[in-house]
Structures are given as structure tokens and as C-alpha cells.
Symmetry: C2
Subunit: 176 residues, 2 copies
Amino acid sequence: MTDTRTQLLDAAEHSMRKRGYHAVSFRDLADELGIKSASVHYHFRQKEDLGVALVQRYASHVLAALELKASGADSPAARFSAFKEVYRDALVTSDEICLCGMLGAEALGLPDVVAAEVRRFFEANVTWLMEAQSDTTPEDERRQRALHIVAALQGAMMLASTLGDFGVFDEIADRI
Amino acid sequence: MTDTRTQLLDAAEHSMRKRGYHAVSFRDLADELGIKSASVHYHFRQKEDLGVALVQRYASHVLAALELKASGADSPAARFSAFKEVYRDALVTSDEICLCGMLGAEALGLPDVVAAEVRRFFEANVTWLMEAQSDTTPEDERRQRALHIVAALQGAMMLASTLGDFGVFDEIADRI
DNA sequence: TATTGTCTATCTACTGATAGATAGATAAAT
DNA sequence: ATTTATCTATCTATCAGTAGATAGACAATA
């Protein structure tokens, strides 16, 4: 049996990726685990503590998945393909958009500490994609490509989810 | 003095574009106008009625802005440029992402009628962009281009807002 | 007089959060 | 080995505040 803290993070991740930060309550999470909401506060004193922990865990999972998928990738194209697959898996295996895509949209209305963590996630994504490119490419050009890829894939998730059609994600991703 | 209903829609639009559907309350809207929350219910019986009306008005504004900006555009490139500018204006003039970008992210957690309206918005966007292209281009290709443009611009708004840097939007938009 | 728009007053349900109690595990001191 | 102390994870009970929503009164307008 996984520990309560991990189960809480799992439940919160699903819920926030489906409905957003403000639609998730300590009571719902508690009910899902069969405990009381006061016990959730034992693990995460405030809701923003839960938010920060959640984004940090999510970011480390994504970065680990990137390293794994790209471990044998020896060309920029192969590394980009790995990046795309990690994003695709996030959407398709759970019918949920990226946690940080959701929280990024809501960023202006999030507690500062949570928004800062989301920002860090995207900066890490951009950095990863810049380093995945040929080092003969100028830095400006690498950065612009990286931003474009992240934006297009995040937008593709949102669109596919709204339109209720995963095929939309692939149509977009294959075209970048 | 604009009528109350319009003022309510204005206030709700700002609030939802900044913080999302679930973070907006009838009380906040009422306070902003100096009326009581019960009076908001007179204009919109349920919250989802407000959501639907809001997305419908937003969609018609965006489509009207597209027609206006693209009225003199006689090439696919010029029409795409107009599309980009309409999206850019939405972000820059108010420091808010697109209403439907926000609601699209939250789509799985919205009342069905609201989610359906958001879907309709994106379908209209895709249709507009398909018709803006040369009719010698195959339909599949036109559709894929349209989806890609919408996704990239929506993602660009979300990223620019999260990173607190409008320049990010332009870097991405200029590159599509 | 009928309609429109707002008010007061109220409801139930839920929000995040806290205080204080308890049971069990672990560890340290005698 | 026994006592003492601390830590962990939960509980019950409760709080003030807010959510969306409704009923009924009132005044202004048409």
C-alpha cells in the first residue's frame, strides 16, 4: 500500500488536470482516500503547499521521462520526437491535459508560490529543448524553436481535450 | 451608462480570463458593480447561463474582429497575419489570455453546455482559417494547418502569461 | 396595470482551516 | 525491563467565510 501522502498527490493530480486548481477541495481528496479532510491538512498544511509539492513532483516525473525516452536519441530530430512522445503519453494515457498546461492557464489566479513552480517547469522544458538542438544553431534560434514546440504541444493538448479527439493532437504534433 | 447585463458580462469576462471559471463568483461580480448577488441571478439564472452567454458574446466579438482585420486581406498570408493580430490584441491589450483558451483547459470540468460553446468557438476558428487558405490546397492539409495555428497561438498566450513576458507570444507567432 | 430591475433576507451546502484528543510506533533514560 | 517522552497519523468537532440559489417585497417604468 502506497503511503497516504503519495495517494493524496495522485488524487490531486488527476483532479487538477481534469478540472483545475480551484475546483479541487481537500474534502474531495479526503473522501477519495476514505479519510477526513483534517488529515489532509496534516500532510499539506495549506492548499498552496499541496500545489507546490504537486508541481514539483510532476516536473521531476516529466524530466525523468524525457531523459529515459531520449537516452538513445543521437540527433536533434530524435530528441524532439522523444519530447513529443512524452507529451503525447501524458495526454493519451489518462485523458488529461498536462498539469502545467492547466495551471499555466490559471497562473494569474494562483498563489504566487504555485505560479512560480509552474514557471520553473516551463523554463526547464525550454532549456531541455534548447540543449537538444545542434550547438551550431544560434541561441536565439534555438530558444524560439523551443518556445514554439512547447506552445504548440500545450495548445494541441488543450484543443484535443476540448474537441474530444486525440487525433487532433497527432495532427498538430506531426506537423511541427 | 451601459446596462447591467453588459457590465456583468464585462466583469465576468475579465475575471474568468484571469482566474478561470470556478474562481469567479456571483458575489464578486455583484460587488464590482455595486449590486447584490441576487440581482446577478436575475440576469443569469444559473452560473452556467452566464458561462454560455459569455462564450457566445466572446465568439461573436472575435469573429467580428477577424472579419474587420481581414477585410482588405487578399492573400492567405495576409489573412493569417490578421488572425494572428486578433489573438495578439486579445492578450496584450488586457494582460489576459483568450477566454476560450482558459475554458478549453478547464473543459472537462465545465458544465456541458459551456464546454459545448467553447468547442463551437474553436470549430469556428478552424473553419475560418481553412477558408482563409488557397482553395487549391487539399482539405486535409488546410485543416492541419488551421489546427496547428490555433494550437500554437493558444499555447503561446498561455506561455507568455505564465512567464510574464509578452515577447514570448511574438517570438512564437512570428515563427509559425 | 404589467413589466423590469433591484432589494432584503434567507437557505443549504461547501470551503479552507484550526484545536484538541487519541492510539500506536519509536526511542531514550532509568 | 520499565518508564518517560516524542513523533506520526489519524480522528472529532468546530469555525468563519463563501458558494450558488430562491422567495418575496418594493419601486420605477412603460
